[in-house]
Symmetry: C2
Subunit: 421 residues, 2 copies
């Protein structure tokens, strides 16, 4: 293939390390200037390709690109946008080809989760279907850890580390207070369908130091009686208890906990609040004083306490994506393969994108304890290496991390305007 | 004074660095064995003195005590318990004297906020009023930064650092998503009456990188119209906006945005849930998609990202308290005196406890911007040094901080049982 430019975009909910993957892509492309010209990043993901809003990453300094490795969020902007099938929206594919052609783009790197893998797969096929050859490689990213094939997903290790540490720290806090005040702390974490993030909360309890933690997984139907009994037993034994609840936990009728019950002072329903619902339930039925927190964006943006394993893997998948592409591999994704647990060793392997797209990986049954409220030894062995190691960003004199900002020099438009439907 | 033992206790809501003060007290006492015998710590604060549940800190190793410096929460247990006046509950004071006498306790170190300063003051007076001489020194602690006299309060710098960083990180996140998804992120922080913690959120926006942040202080009466207009203007200009709301923000009629009806042991209303109220309001009136988080205990337990200034000052106040006591100073508190901003220099000065007890320090008017939604340059100059520097705990192979646990060897009881009313 003659030398062509590359398109890179970030998709879906961002993470603490998606920019580390971007760093891997851009730095590796810069090392292969014989094969890849410039890397153009989509402003706000694939939307940037449709609207021809392309950020010229060649205008960013080496230092800035290196700084992406320790900057959270999506530096180029992300989007929640799923391409329809070729049959349903041919105009969008024609537009993409128009933009790719205009800017001599022959490589497509898409950094996202399951939906994005599907988009990437569709793009990889336009060569055959529409006569525009493009090499499309997916770079895995999701805090939810729900991609198949890959042993784990970049983005997850850091949110898991944040949740494990926050659960540990908040548990220390409530243990201090429980004699006369708060006895139960409820922490709400992300994970609409898969309980991987909630599972990380259980890591705070170890053989050296048992901490009474009850985890509510979206994979387990919520049984209020059993749950309250478990919490109460822990409060009796330890004086306190910490509950880690996934936002996706649902009643047996399928309704999310967060949709029910609690109203604010003005009678408005509080949405997205499983934690207050669980906390109020504990107060009403058991009479224990509670506190609750909702980690929301803080958990997935917490680059300040990113897992070193995670940062390394995010970078490595970005790097491998470029290496695959210049070797001509299309419709693939770099996946993480675990070689051993002790010591933790891993490598990057090529996975076919068709097996990744639109498949959601739930917690295996043997990762959830028999009572449904904790994790098994097997799960702990899987999770612990993923939160291992610290990778601190540099700090300024103002006490804040030095996260980079891009110049965002836009590539001159060459195509007519295009309206996204 | 002949050699006597010391009593140390932690009081009120704990912090990321109250154990660093404990470390300062115990390590300094160990250096003055000619003056101070053993340090007995109250199990669950002053309650431990009343129930004669005393933890013998001499049984803890040097390494464990040193490890307290980087362990969050109250290692000895804290309590929300306010001694009544001598007139109202003489029995409790007589009981304290009984326990102090039985264990040869001549020093009383109380580590807490405004209410605790009051308790400490009362104890310091029982020598004169009830004929039991005891040297009582207060060690300042509160995340709320609302103690008078001292320039700032140990515990605040770390929560401020956590909130500034969380605001920065979540703002990066929402900036990535705003094109097609979330446009406003609302973060709820602690601070019932004083807006110091909320103010720290504004530090995330700097001269180098302007971030659209709207702060809601408890000191400023909530004006819904003005607030929504401000948020909307920022969304228009930047594409997104971050709101930092103090739990203590109230409507013009005085009712908290987040009233739950529950009260704590001091009779303060228990709050929680201003964020969802604000977020719903933004959705209903402006139509912007939102996310919200509640930092709750995570913010004050976040030892993993403690401010170095704060850890140093927490230790220094603990150390100074012991040094004051062995010099015979009673009814005092080590206060932090700021010597200069650039470079930030400070020292410890002695303050009379009578001027500290029961006084709450609000944000000065010239620290809040004219529109009521941000901080002034003066405030920034005050706050920045307090979040400066990182003081990371050691980490284990399991990816978690190595927080210490005490052996908690209890001192043998010598007094009859006592029931707290």
């Amino acid at each position: 293939m003659s030398k062509m430019n590359a398109f890179y975009a970030q998709s879906g909910g961002v993470t603490a390390v998606i920019n580390a993957s971007a760093c891997g892509v851009i730095e590796t492309a810069r090392k292969h200037k014989d094969k890849i010209g410039k890397v153009y990043a989509g402003a706000s993901g694939i939307i940037g390709a449709l609207t021809e809003e392309l950020i010229d990453t060649s205008k960013e300094t080496k230092t800035t690109i290196a700084g992406l490795r320790s900057t959270p969020s999506g530096a180029f902007g992300s989007c929640r946008f799923k391409l329809k099938s070729l049959e349903d929206n041919k105009a969008e594919y024609e537009r993409l080809i128009e933009v790719f052609k205009a800017h001599n783009i022959g490589y497509f790197f898409y950094n996202g989760g399951g939906d994005s893998a599907d988009t990437c797969l569709k793009i990889s096929q336009i060569g055959k279907k529409m006569g525009y050859p493009i090499t499309a490689v997916h770079v895995p990213k999701t805090v939810d850890n729900d991609l198949p094939i890959t042993d784990n997903c970049p983005g997850f290790g850091s949110v898991a580390k944040y949740i494990a540490i926050s659960t540990l720290e908040a548990s220390y806090d409530v243990a201090s207070m429980c004699k006369t005040s708060t006895k139960v702390f409820v922490l709400e974490v992300m994970g609409r369908h898969a309980g991987w993030i909630a599972a990380a909360g259980a890591l705070a309890s170890t053989d050296d130091h048992e901490i009474p933690i009850v985890v509510l997984f979206p994979e387990v139907k919520f049984n209020q009686g059993k749950f309250l009994k478990n919490v109460n037993a822990k409060v009796k034994k330890f004086g306190y208890c910490t509950v880690v609840v996934s936002e996706g936990v649902a009643w047996p009728n399928g309704k999310f906990l967060a949709e029910t019950g609690l109203k604010d002072a003005f009678g408005h329903s509080q949405l997205g609040g499983a934690a207050p619902v669980v906390a109020e339930m504990i107060q009403a039925k058991l009479g224990h004083k509670y506190h609750w927190g909702v980690a929301d964006y803080m958990q997935r943006a917490a680059r300040h306490i990113a897992s070193k394993s995670d940062v390394d893997q995010a970078y490595a998948t970005g790097k491998a994506a470029v290496e695959y592409a210049i070797k001509g591999h299309n419709s693939v994704m770099p996946a993480i393969k675990r070689i051993s647990n002790k010591p933790y060793r891993w490598k990057i392997e090529m996975a076919p994108l068709s097996k990744v797209a639109n498949v959601e990986k739930m917690m295996p049954k043997n990762f959830i304890s028999a009572d449904g409220f904790s994790i098994t030894k097997k799960c702990r062995e899987y999770l612990e290496p993923l939160i291992r190691g610290e990778d601190y960003p540099a700090y300024g004199k103002n006490g804040l991390p030095k996260y980079v900002q891009l110049k965002r020099v836009m590539v001159k438009k060459k195509c007519p305007n295009f309206k996204i439907k």
